[in-house]
């Protein structure tokens, strides 16, 4: 829509300072878009779970309601949320510029995540040992995949935090490190949200006892 306003004497044609754009904002925005894509992967797995969560697809094996414990899931949920809280405390420390605070927050987040993974993977191992592994039925294939997709995200988050522990120590709070810490915060909250949806949809709506 060429609005042909006339150029005047004071019309600015060039902007010498314009390309000094905000790197952190572009990076967090880009990473947010990545999370949007990641969320769609998860959504696809959830869609499969919704379809396969019925007796026909259990192939004679158990459904979630037969082996999931709502109270244990609740415990796991609190651990995940605790981990997020710990990381959030790290970002509060980041505002104050405290290397120690950031490191402690991340270590706390890592430890809680490891406990969570221990519980979750232990459950899956027990299920497999009882003969209800992922190859038992379409339903169990999807259940394992859903849980392990979340676990994979957690695993990458832990690896990322370990790298950031080193970088905070080596580099301090440079622009790069801060951008990564902020993206990691989004990522960590993202995986927690995924777990909360898993808990609500798979455990609670799925009729876990």
């Amino acid at each position: 829509m060429a609005s042909f306003t006339k150029a005047g004497a004071d019309t600015v044609l060039w902007n010498p300072g314009a390309d000094a754009h905000d790197t952190i904002s572009a990076r967090t925005y880009g990473f947010w878009l990545y999370l949007l894509g990641d969320a769609l992967i998860i959504a696809a797995v959830f869609a499969c779970y919704a379809v396969l969560n019925n007796p026909l697809n259990a192939n004679g094996g158990p459904l979630g309601k037969d082996f999931l414990s709502a109270s244990k899931g609740m415990l796991q949920t609190f651990i995940v949320l605790g981990s997020v809280l710990s990381y959030s405390l790290a970002t509060v420390a980041l505002k104050r510029g405290s290397k120690l605070g950031v490191s402690l927050g991340m270590i706390g987040a890592i430890l809680l995540a490891v406990v969570f993974l221990g519980i979750g993977l232990g459950d899956l191992a027990a299920l497999s040992a009882a003969g209800d592994g992922f190859a038992r039925s379409g339903y169990l294939s999807c259940f394992f995949t859903l849980i392990l997709t979340h676990a994979l995200h957690m695993g990458f988050g832990i690896l990322w935090m370990l790298v950031m522990l080193v970088q905070v120590g080596v580099f301090g709070f440079t622009e790069n490190v801060v951008a990564r810490l902020l993206n990691l915060r989004m990522f960590w909250q993202f995986q927690a949200s995924v777990w909360v949806v898993v808990y609500i949809y798979v455990y609670l709506f799925g009729g876990a006892h």
């Binding site: 829509m1 060429a2 042909f4 192939n59």
Partner: protein
């Protein structure tokens, strides 16, 4: 005119009128095919009302406003509320009409219930039930009420509704008899339905439309519509056949992957025809598959001469 290529759009429609051998879809037979043809023509015709003027404008404007012709030139004219409203309203109106037609058509022709066939002359007669099993790569037609079965030859009486129930053993196939019946997929572990009624004796060729592997190109079958008396005689002759189709014969021979070069038909008496279809569906649900051997994939090349003969030739 140099812009002759646009005629490509009209060519198939124009040629349709002058040839009977080609363009099967313009020569429907029976109620289902007729309905499909009817809707195709209407939907296409309505769209041509809008497409033809647009094509003409697309061709005429570049010539009319070519820079050498010094026609009226308005470089800054870039918006007109009237034209924009029309540009949205005309397609919208057309889509409303077409969507109405499409939706009402599907409620008439729905292959599962085929409401349209309620108006057919044979609606008062009991339908002929045929169970269709697509194997790798043949069509098995089971007649549960007559206790017979055929391979690659669908024989039905004229003037009665033919009710098809379909499944497959291994791969998904599309069941289709052009001019006669809507295309419906035959799928492993699932059941689908189709139906048609033809009131005069006739012959057609049906085939698979959804790719299913090396023998796919040979998955065609004769479709013969016989007069009722001829049909009855045919059923009797097949019932007397020495070839028997049992569940064991089916799973051990017929359902094993094989290419039926030339789609040679076979005929069977099948004393337990009523239970075969259900068992095949159940097998697939329980995970039974018919793995395709290398000899029928990588090295299927030139085996026609020494093809594994159809397990039970006529």
């Amino acid at each position: 005119m140099r812009y002759w290529r646009k005629l490509g759009l009209l060519a198939p429609l124009a040629l349709a009128g002058c040839s009977t051998d080609n363009m099967r879809l313009f020569h429907p037979v029976g109620l289902m095919g007729g309905l499909e043809y009817h809707y195709t023509m209407w939907i296409t015709g309505i769209m041509l009302l809008i497409i033809v003027p647009t094509v003409l404008m697309t061709i005429i404007f570049p010539l009319r406003y070519h820079h050498s012709r010094n026609a009226k030139y308005t470089p800054d004219w870039h918006f007109s509320a009237v034209i924009e409203i029309l540009a949205w309203a005309i397609p919208l109106g057309m889509v409303v009409v077409l969507a109405y037609m499409s939706v009402s058509a599907i409620y008439r022709i729905d292959p599962w219930t085929t409401p349209a066939l309620a108006d057919a002359p044979g609606a008062s007669l009991p339908p002929v039930k045929v169970e269709v099993i697509a194997t790798d790569w043949q069509w098995v037609f089971v007649y549960p009420d007559e206790n017979i079965a055929t391979i690659d030859d669908l024989v039905v009486p004229a003037g009665r509704r033919v009710q098809l129930t379909m499944t497959a053993t291994e791969a998904m196939n599309g069941f289709y008899i052009p001019q006669v019946a809507p295309m419906v997929d035959a799928m492993p572990a699932m059941i689908s339905k189709d139906a048609f009624e033809i009131d005069q004796p006739a012959e057609f060729t049906g085939f698979s439309t959804d790719f299913s592997g090396a023998g796919f190109s040979w998955m065609y079958f004769k479709t013969r519509i016989l007069a009722q008396a001829d049909y009855d005689a045919w059923v009797k002759s097949v019932q007397a056949s020495q070839n028997q189709l049992t569940y064991d014969v089916f799973t051990q021979k017929i359902a094993q992957p094989q290419v039926n070069y030339g789609a040679v038909p076979s005929y069977f008496s099948a004393p337990n025809a009523g239970s075969l279809f259900g068992k095949v569906v159940m097998d697939a649900m329980m995970g039974k598959t018919y793995p395709v051997p290398d000899s029928l994939t990588k090295s299927v090349s030139s085996t026609e001469g020494e093809a594994p003969a159809s397990p039970a030739a006529k």
